[in-house]
């Protein structure tokens, strides 16, 4: 039994690390919290009324809730763990503060301190053009550089976006991901709150990233942010999101919907560094449409959570459009990262590249689930898919479910998949040079995900390496 004991100690020490750095929580003192757990038309009505929404949105929410109720749970991914979600035990809406702050001074101290500990204001000062900080269901702080607003850039929380730019929102909202797309997009459509609304006018190049930070604080919280980014003709934007939550013994649910629209000649990069505690179900729908000669890139880093099911998608609908999905998943004890990518080639001369890397350790499970489809209209397209899995030990698991549906002519497809076990031989090589076993493992992992890390702004690359180091702490040989 000593092995089991060691393993438990390792898990506990992991939890300790997360607890002190990200897993802390504030007392739950809120401006408004739904009086009951669970979701119903009554809850949806209450959310919509509090937000004073137009009728079309209220109707959209109610209809989506019916869709949510009627749709069965997905039969794929991890249906066992999905089946454990207790929708009746979750709070669907918490408004932490009465007003949104435009300066950090306007944010209540407790919440501001939380974001201080997470390094958000510091990052803002150093290298961001705009910041949105969401706490539970609402964005509590928001700012954007004046130069950008002067150029017509809109960066708001989604609720303000709907209030201030109803016609743009109505035109694009749920056009890429309809409520009925899947059970969780339906749930999000019914109870969504917060998230970002971004519009970049034609030809504007937003040179420094915009960032949103999502924090769950309450126990049994459901966070359902909704993001819509529209890059108009010839514009460029890089948007970054980060997420964390406290450690609780009971579960929380994070179910976002993110829609990106890249109009002609535009460029959108969407970077995620997700670092959920392992009591969070992370079931997110992300999809983009790339028009003529537009480029969309998803850079998606998944650490933590109990179960993540997330497959960023790009529809290449305009001739010459490009899509790239670069993802990393790190599955630790008790975690299942079911992550992947989808690219749909509709227009001719489109190209896509998918690079997926996963690391499983200490019983963690990582799956790559991917779909690349070309329609007969998509002549002369180029597709490159590469999935690499790294298994740190015999207790961990990795699966690959790649699907290709090629229905057009003249398609060049390259597909590579590899699963490598960290060989004793490799560890021996590094330790024979004086590195400890832990250092050796960390070096091998960092090397493995290096193609991903290289794509991150330096500050995030450092943060990611630190997160992985945290995940590896207390590892037993």
């Amino acid at each position: 039994m000593p092995q089991v004991k060691e393993k438990n100690q390792a898990i506990e020490s992991l939890a300790d690390d997360y607890r002190s750095k990200y897993g802390f929580h504030d007392p739950e003192e809120y401006f408004h919290k739904t009086p009951r757990r669970g979701v119903s038309h009554e809850v949806v009505e209450m959310i919509s009324q509090m937000k004073n929404e137009p009728d079309w949105m209220r109707a959209f929410r109610h209809k989506a809730l019916d869709t949510f109720f009627s749709k069965p749970m997905p039969k794929w991914g991890n249906s066992k763990v999905l089946g454990e979600i207790d929708f009746d035990n979750i709070f669907y809406y918490i408004k932490p503060t009465e007003f949104q702050g435009k300066t950090w001074e306007e944010v209540p101290d407790k919440i501001k301190n939380t974001f201080d500990r997470l390094g958000v204001p510091e990052a803002e000062r150093k290298f961001l053009a705009g910041v949105s900080a969401q706490y539970e269901s609402e964005v509590v702080y928001h700012s954007i550089h004046k130069e950008l607003t002067d150029q017509g850039v809109i960066f708001l929380d989604m609720d303000s976006g709907l209030r201030e730019y109803p016609e743009i929102v109505k035109k694009y909202f749920a056009t890429i991901i309809p409520a009925a797309d899947n059970k969780f997009s339906a749930l999000n459509s019914a109870v969504w709150s917060g998230g970002s609304f971004i519009y970049i006018p034609p030809g504007v190049d937003v040179k420094i990233p915009l960032q949103a930070y999502f924090r769950i604080n309450a126990q049994n919280m459901g966070q359902f942010e909704r993001t819509l980014i529209i890059a108009d003709k010839g514009s460029r934007v890089h948007y970054i999101e980060g997420c964390t939550a406290p450690m609780y013994s009971s579960d929380s649910l994070h179910s976002a919907v993110v829609e990106l629209i890249g109009l002609e000649d535009s460029y959108i990069r969407y970077t995620t560094i997700q670092n959920w505690s392992n009591n969070v179900y992370n079931l997110v729908t992300k999809r983009a449409t790339a028009h003529k000669n537009a480029t969309v890139e998803w850079v998606d880093g998944n650490i933590g959570s109990k179960l993540t099911m997330k497959y960023p998608c790009i529809n290449l609908v305009g001739e010459g459009a490009k899509g790239e999905i670069l993802s990393v998943a790190f599955a630790n004890t008790g975690q299942h990262q079911d992550a992947g990518a989808k690219v749909i080639h509709v227009a001719p001369n489109t190209s896509s590249r998918i690079t997926s890397k996963s690391v499983s350790r200490a019983g963690g499970r990582a799956s790559y689930r991917g779909l690349v489809k070309t329609y007969p209209s998509a002549k002369n397209c180029k597709i490159n898919v590469e999935c690499d899995a790294l298994l740190m030990d015999g207790a961990s698991r990795s699966d690959t479910y790649p699907t290709m549906e090629i229905d057009s002519d003249n398609v060049r497809v390259e597909h590579e998949a590899s699963v490598s076990k960290v060989a004793e031989e490799q560890i021996f090589y590094l330790t024979s040079r004086g590195l400890s076993e832990d250092e050796a493992r960390l070096l091998i992992i960092n090397g493995f995900i290096n193609p991903f890390v290289k794509e991150l702004p330096m500050e995030y690359a450092i943060e990611l390496n630190r997160l992985i180091e945290l995940e590896m702490e207390g590892s037993v040989g």
């Binding site: 060989a423 004793e424 031989e425 490799q426 021996f428 090589y429 590094l430 330790t431 024979s432 040079r433 004086g434 590195l435 400890s436 076993e437 250092e439 070096l443 091998i444 960092n446 090397g447 493995f448 995900i449 290096n450 193609p451």
Partner: protein, 254 residues
Amino acid sequence: MSTQPLLKINDLHVEVAGIEVVKGVSLELNRGEVHAIMGPNGSGKSSLANAIAGHPSYTITSGEVFVDGEDILEMDPTERSLAGIFLAFQYPMAVPGVTVTGFMRSAVKAHVKGDEQILRRFRKDLKAKFELLEMDPSFSTRYVNDGFSGGEKKRFEILQMAMLNPKVAILDETDSGLDIDALKVVSKGINKVQSEENTFLLVTHYQRILNYVKPDFVHVMMDGRIKQSGGPELAHKLEELGYDWLKSEVQAEA
């Protein structure tokens, strides 16, 4: 200065997958000495090298190994490295995504135990070693052994040895697969590191490298045992007669 041997091996027995491959080897290597272990394939010489460095697939069933008087058999490979053992691998492992510089810095950092001065001149030292091994400086940003040719891997092993400056350097068939020019460069590196403060154990199949790195002692290993020991002339005799004349002796004994 201590007069005890830098490496002392006493009646060492090693098993791989339950099969005994080293069957009682004893050796003493003193400061400043270069020893060569020669032998045909499968004689147990690489097993001996790997067992001393602590390879997990090689189980030491009995015997003793001391480095500078210190018993190393209870140590893990990391501790053995820090105690002064260096193994140049016959087949060095690739570590994709990890740069040569990053890897070397980690290794040097582990060895200097906080000596800031050595760390401060790390880049300069590394550059000097690249020159010594006639390697292009662009190697510093390449990934460890990833896509290296056979010769580049061997040069890089010797470069690592030169950076870490071990007390006991064990070179496992460093000469195999090298063309004559690469062999000369690698030998130059070895001779540069070799001093009165360290000792070398050259494991080799061929006599060729011994033309460039002069051994003080030559041992012939066959069937897990040291069959014969002598001076440099023994290597020449092997070159002339092959291993057969010793093989027949082994058989005669059996």
